[in-house]
Subunit: 311 residues, 2 copies
């Protein structure tokens, strides 16, 4: 908890100015630079050896993951990524082929999304590899989706299936950019976030930013095959539902929408994205806190998602 | 040399698009985002414990230095900084007061220059503290100054005095933002860079980007008191002139201008910035390479500046 408290305290002291429509504390900063039709999104994120990948991770996947995490943050604002700069901090001894492979993975994903890589710094980090990426994007004015807009009685939706990402998916997930833009174009999305800390943890970010609470229906939470497989394979693994609620790095979209739009959304989604699951997992409440409804009734859900330093 | 070769090779493979007027390889990327009057500058830079500061460096100065380095890169393009995002990678055990002090130093300098800090991520870097900053800025269209515009017969100028920065100045230098903007407003600056790798090393960056050579006049190189003091104090220290030519982290401006403007520039500068030294240290030549003229005549200068990983 120390880290979350520290970050919350630091946020209150940061210099700002009128051009900042959303600063630290959302998935991206939202800036009014004076473009006639668009706002600018700005985000930084880092992956670190031994934390977000291992010494054995194929280097192409390290570069891909570092960029994909930033793309997922742009998606969470319903934006379009445009430019990125890369800082690669290298251990004292490194293979140039490893560095080239990291960039190959990063560049390939950047090309898929028409992102220009406009700066590539290297520095020394003697003990381990660290890759920090900063990204710019755009979103049409008044179409950005913040964490703070959830309203009581909203339906809560999540894309894909959740849990067990660290057994593989975290290295090759597809950032939900097209899905998020489609959502913002066709529906009024009240609040959105990408899942990096786990469904429960990231939903709490929305609840805190919006000043509301939520009820989740445990039977509606889409549990991934990976989470089920892990629970079968290892007696010490989390039960699958708990994994789906608390595992980090799903990089799916979590959003809220007026409940009257829930059925039209599900219909339109199935036609547009037949291969991507969309689940209504609960509703926003005026009562603060996060509650889980299961066969035993309604109870407070007090576990946070996977608490790492990243916000 | 391995690092420079690797970086040069990586640069050729980076994805780009039409909005990128200058990408990796200049002090900042220069982007045409569609603002009516301005181009956007984008830069990332990192400082690492044990490389750019030590465990004993006062934390306020770590934060200050990290931001000041980015500001110096914005200055090198004659730009105005606007927004920054911060990634702070923290060792496994850290004092929250140290982190707050890092931000205090960073925030204070940001406020001086009206820079909004719009994102503050933290992540883990188990062995040492690393601070990565990405910055946005603006420059009026057609007033950006690249490294690639130096022309034969240009006069070469440098601000301030050089060498010995690591004995203290690297922690509290003032980025030359006002000076650079004034230069670009009142004169036609052909090429500019901020000195991070040393006068000789950074001049080579200009020469390579511009396809020209240069002659430096050794008696004109402004040697700092710190470089002279170090040479007096330690028999193993570099001779002061060599320190001024090759020490890193001066964060002064190095630029070239048509030789006919040299005298008017010196006169106007003295009136505008009476406390900041400006020195004409040599001239651009069609002959490639870097030559130094001293009492022994003209000779090739083959030592690179302080070669660290940063570009």
């Amino acid at each position: 908890m120390k880290e979350f408290d520290l970050i919350a305290r630091l946020k209150t002291t940061l210099p700002t100015h009128d051009s900042v429509l959303a600063g630290a504390g959302d998935d991206c900063a939202v800036l009014n630079l004076g473009l006639p039709h668009d706002l600018v999104l700005f985000k930084t994120d880092a992956v670190v050896e031994g934390v977000h990948f291992t010494a054995d991770t194929p280097p192409e996947k390290i570069g891909r993951k570092a960029l994909a995490r930033c793309l997922s943050d742009i998606a969470a604002m319903a934006g379009t990524p445009t430019h990125a700069v890369v800082t690669l901090a290298l251990p004292t001894t490194f293979e140039t082929t490893r560095v080239e492979a990291i960039y190959a993975g990063l560049n390939a994903l950047a090309r898929e999304h028409s992102v220009a890589i406009v700066g590539g710094e290297t520095t020394a980090n003697p003990d381990r590899l660290l890759l920090s990426i900063a990204m710019l994007g755009t979103v049409p004015r008044n179409r950005q989706v913040l964490r703070s807009g959830a309203k009581a009685e909203d339906a809560i939706f999540v894309t894909g299936t959740l849990g067990g990402s660290l057994s593989g998916r975290h290295l090759d997930f597809e950032p939900r950019l097209a899905e998020a833009r489609w959502l913002a174009e066709h529906f009024t999305i009240h609040a959105m976030i990408d899942l990096s800390d786990g469904l429960a943890g990231d939903l709490r970010h929305i609840l805190e930013a919006s000043g509301v609470g939520a009820e989740l229906l445990s039977s509606a939470v889409p549990v991934s095959r990976a989470a089920k497989q892990l629970a079968r394979d290892e007696s010490s693994a989390k039960p699958p539902l708990l994994a789906a609620l608390t595992d980090g790095e799903d990089f799916e979209l979590l959003f809220t929408i007026a409940s009257r739009s829930a059925v039209p959304l599900l219909d339109a989604w199935r036609a547009q994205f037949p291969d991507v699951k969309l689940s209504c997992v609960g509703k926003i409440t005026t009562t603060p806190g996060l509650r889980l409804r299961d066969e035993r009734g309604l109870r407070e859900f007090n576990l946070r998602g996977y608490e790492h330093f990243d916000s």
